[in-house]
């Protein structure tokens, strides 16, 4: 009798993982830039505890860590999420990829339970507002409606801040 036992390795989903990683990187740099240049973001994040860590990650996948230390906010790359005060976890790389490429909006990801939060919900509400504003620095208004609930009007200030966010992410300048 021949055996039907065999082993099989699932695909790595390398491309989706790298695209998600890149988007998380830009998002992290966007938050860092927004804290320094957008008063509403500074006001929101100043309500968080002085030593505070926020991790946005994909379950078993890429992540980004934001560290707040007194009056500075730093994107800290892919740090271990274990000790994060607040964690926003996307349940798998497929959801993350769809979300990062604008095919599931951030609010829809919440409504569809495609993510879960570990930590204080009040802090999460603050971080959702910060993420919303930071995303306005990363995408043109025509695309923003795929990411956030309410698209703010385009102003000169937003365009300048967008330039700074991309300069910060690409050449570490204007941060």
């Amino acid at each position: 009798m021949s055996s039907r036992m065999y082993q099989i390795a699932p695909p790595k989903k390398w491309l989706k993982t790298q695209i998600t990683r890149l988007c998380l990187y830009f998002l992290g740099m966007g938050i860092e830039t927004a804290y320094k240049n957008v008063p509403d973001v500074k006001k929101e994040m100043d309500t968080l505890p002085d030593h505070f860590s926020f991790c946005f990650n994909v379950h078993n996948g890429p992540s980004m860590m934001i560290l707040k230390n007194g009056n500075t906010v730093k994107y800290a790359g892919e740090k271990e999420a274990y000790h994060a005060d607040l964690e926003l976890v996307l349940k798998n790389i497929e959801y993350a990829y769809l979300m990062m490429t604008g095919r599931i909006s951030t609010p829809d990801a919440v409504y569809h339970n495609r993510q879960f939060v570990r930590g204080n919900l009040g802090y999460m509400m603050t971080m959702i507002r910060v993420l919303n504003i930071s995303q306005t620095l990363l995408f043109p208004n025509v695309l923003l409606r795929f990411y956030i609930k309410k698209v703010p009007p385009l102003t000169m200030k937003t365009m300048i801040n967008r330039t700074k966010a991309y300069a910060n992410a690409t050449i570490g300048f204007f941060a």
């Binding site: 939060v117 509400m125 603050t126």
Partner: protein
């Protein structure tokens, strides 16, 4: 057209509720066999003075007559606002008396306290604070049975608990599927002694759960089914329950409605009405059901202006408040207005019957508190489940309309 398509079935949804429901006359008699099935023999019963003084504990204790179950301890000093002090004290008693399971007999506060005790015991900790927030729990909880004595919170089937930390003057929220009770026992004798005003307020709380669960963006066909059943039962029984609390059939119907609404909103979540009601309770100590009753029509009116999709859903709810032939006669464009009017009628009737407040000022809120209520509400988790982004000014508009 698009809305109907979206309303039919979402592209993706999740639904979870693992609580065994035992509902009906003499349902209490099943507690001992349920404990047996859970492998427990020595429960601690957590309740409060009100429940004890009303003689409700006698029903529960009598249900153990002739069984092998030993009541390890009874704690009847649960505060009106559940606190970590009470949780730690009860956990100490649980360990000292070598209990192996928990039975909560009471309203939302007792149930939340019992959930806190279960966390402390099961996670083998002395610091409840470490587990505050979402999804912080990792261990399987101890056998936990809930016998609600109010019909409104739905706490017997929800995966959340709110517990105060008086030393730091904060209320901590604990959310995890792990804290769901194993069994919910609904017996009409347990809600018979509720006074009319509490009956009305808790019923309006349940109605708000069901309405917000249906109109919210996280709704799905399964949660809709629970919400619809809840609204139907509440509409049929809310006035009779307030008028004639001695009617067992009506009490059972309301207990079931509260549970159904609880299952629904635990999965679909709630929105602006709850966010504002939580904040109103936190800042001005207005009971949650009363705050919900006052704010529900105003929250719905807010959606009429801001979210056409939600407005359409509000209109669809009219069929639960009027006769089918009358519903057919109302033009689709007017249904949403009529739904809100129907909810206002219920509030007016309850006001006449038992003095349920109709405005925030009647409930003791002062105008100078509105700003801080709006501020606190913006950080409430329920705001994430509003179909539209809500600003401080918009939250203030709703509060001022309700004032």
């Amino acid at each position: 057209m698009n809305i109907q398509k979206k309303d039919g079935c979402p592209k993706y949804f999740e639904f979870f509720n693992s609580v065994k429901i035992i509902s009906g006359y003499k349902a209490l008699e099943n507690i001992s066999s349920e404990l047996d099935l859970l492998g427990a023999k020595r429960p601690i019963i957590i309740t409060d003075k009100g429940v004890n003084n009303a003689g409700l504990m006698d029903h529960v204790v009598n249900s153990f007559g002739g069984t092998q179950i030993t009541i390890g301890a009874v704690y009847d000093d649960t505060p009106v606002d559940s606190s970590n002090v009470a949780v730690n004290e009860i956990a100490g008693i649980y360990r000292q008396q070598q209990c192996d399971s928990i039975i909560a007999v009471g309203g939302g506060s007792v149930i939340d306290t019992a959930k806190g005790v279960n966390i402390v015991i099961s996670e083998e900790t002395d610091d409840l604070m470490k587990f505050a927030g979402n999804n912080r729990l990792t261990k399987t909880m101890r056998p936990f049975i809930v016998v609600p004595t109010t019909a409104g919170t739905g706490s017997e089937v929800t995966m959340a608990a709110v517990i105060a930390n008086p030393a730091q003057n904060v209320k901590m929220q604990f959310t995890s599927p792990l804290i769901l009770p194993k069994v919910a026992v609904l017996d009409p004798v347990m809600t018979m002694s509720m006074p009319p005003k509490i009956t009305a307020a808790t019923a309006m709380d349940a109605l708000t759960h069901a309405v917000e669960a249906y109109i919210g963006p996280q709704k799905n066909p399964v949660s809709d089914a629970f919400a619809f059943s809840a609204i139907e039962l509440i509409k049929e029984n809310i006035i009779s329950a307030t008028k004639n609390g001695g009617d067992k059939d009506v009490r059972l119907a309301m207990a079931n409605a509260s549970l159904l609404a609880g299952v629904s909103f635990s999965n679909s979540m709630v929105g602006i009405v709850h966010a504002l009601a939580h904040a109103t309770g936190g800042r001005c100590h207005v009971p949650h059901g009363i705050a919900n009753a006052i704010l529900l029509p105003h929250g719905l009116e807010f959606y009429l202006k801001k979210s056409p999709e939600t407005a359409e859903r509000i209109g669809k709810l009219l069929r639960f408040f009027i006769e089918p032939e009358d519903y057919a006669k109302v033009p689709a464009s007017e249904r949403k207005i009529k739904t809100i009017a129907a909810i206002r009628d219920i509030n007016d009737n309850l006001h006449k019957l038992c003095g349920l407040p109709l405005t925030l000022s009647q409930a003791g809120v002062t105008k100078d508190k509105l700003e801080s209520i709006a501020q606190v509400a913006l950080n409430d988790g329920a705001m994430a489940f509003c179909p539209v982004e809500i600003s401080h000014e918009e939250a203030m508009d709703v509060l001022q309309a309700a004032f």
